[in-house]
Symmetry: D3
Subunit: 69 residues, 6 copies
């Protein structure tokens, strides 16, 4: 599937922390650049995510903020 | 300010597309890794964003999805 | 791509309203059930969306609220 | 209350999975069309949600993405 | 309708800025406390919002971040 | 850091409810006005949030809906 989310970042799964409803997944998308996602635990199981595996971080542009120093 | 958003990605502003209410900002956060944000045009002006300038992409973990091939 | 968004609703594109940065897309996902999405105009062009075409509405579970009468 | 969320989908609650902070609710909004929401467990209690009951799935248009095959 | 959004803030509409797809609405929810919302222009019309009128700002708890100095 | 989120509301932390992955934080931002946030438990620890402490509620304008009676 091709999706409208402007941000589709391939990476490697560094860690998975499972809770009863929510699971936290950390992806490395470049050297020194990590992305943390919280998804439902059902999704995490359904996607068969494993540490060390490949995955994408997907982010809708309207969910991204900009900061400056 | 320190914020709870788990994803704080420093980068360089590649482009800014302004609309009457919404502005689209593209950041390069690593070689070959770009992040697109849509923010209000008022925020873009208030932050004095300029192409080539430094900025951060900020994303709450609950806004990130995971995809697999 | 398989994605963690729990809500993946196939439908037919009923209308597309384009603005300079944001485009509004209306999908019919069942008889009498419509879903409205606002995406970037760049995404709308890149996906080559046309009225009458098939598409999916994708929604992360954490973006859905529940209401009662 | 009338709300600006463009997507207000009436349905029947199929299941409720409660965690300590987050609860997952599945609604059937049409034959074969289900919507999954994660809300706070406090909200789920406050709305007195029960399996088999009627409820609405509410989604802001800016939270919906579009996908194509 | 009763909704699961944990944040329902009554206030007075201070300003409305309309774009072709997106409209920006500013609410005063307490002395010195303003909330800015971007909604679709179709919603703004449908709700018949006018400056000086009463309205609610509604925010899902998962969309709120926390910052500290 | 200066951020594009249009809503930056200073307040006092009234309560913190911790789950294994998600933590719920309630802020008082004015007399009678409370804001509830769900953030990752890792963020809550990292920010060293304590009841009675000062913090900000940060909300992107695109995450705010408007309701009317």
């Amino acid at each position: 599937m091709k999706i409208s989310a402007r941000n589709v970042l391939p990476g490697k799964i560094l860690s998975i922390v499972r809770g009863p409803v929510t699971t936290e997944v950390t992806l490395q998308v470049a050297a020194g650049v990590e992305i943390v996602a919280t998804i439902t635990s059902t999704s995490a199981e359904s996607l068969k995510l494993v540490e060390g595996g490949q995955a994408y971080g997907l982010i809708k542009a309207s969910s991204v903020m900009i900061g400056t120093d």
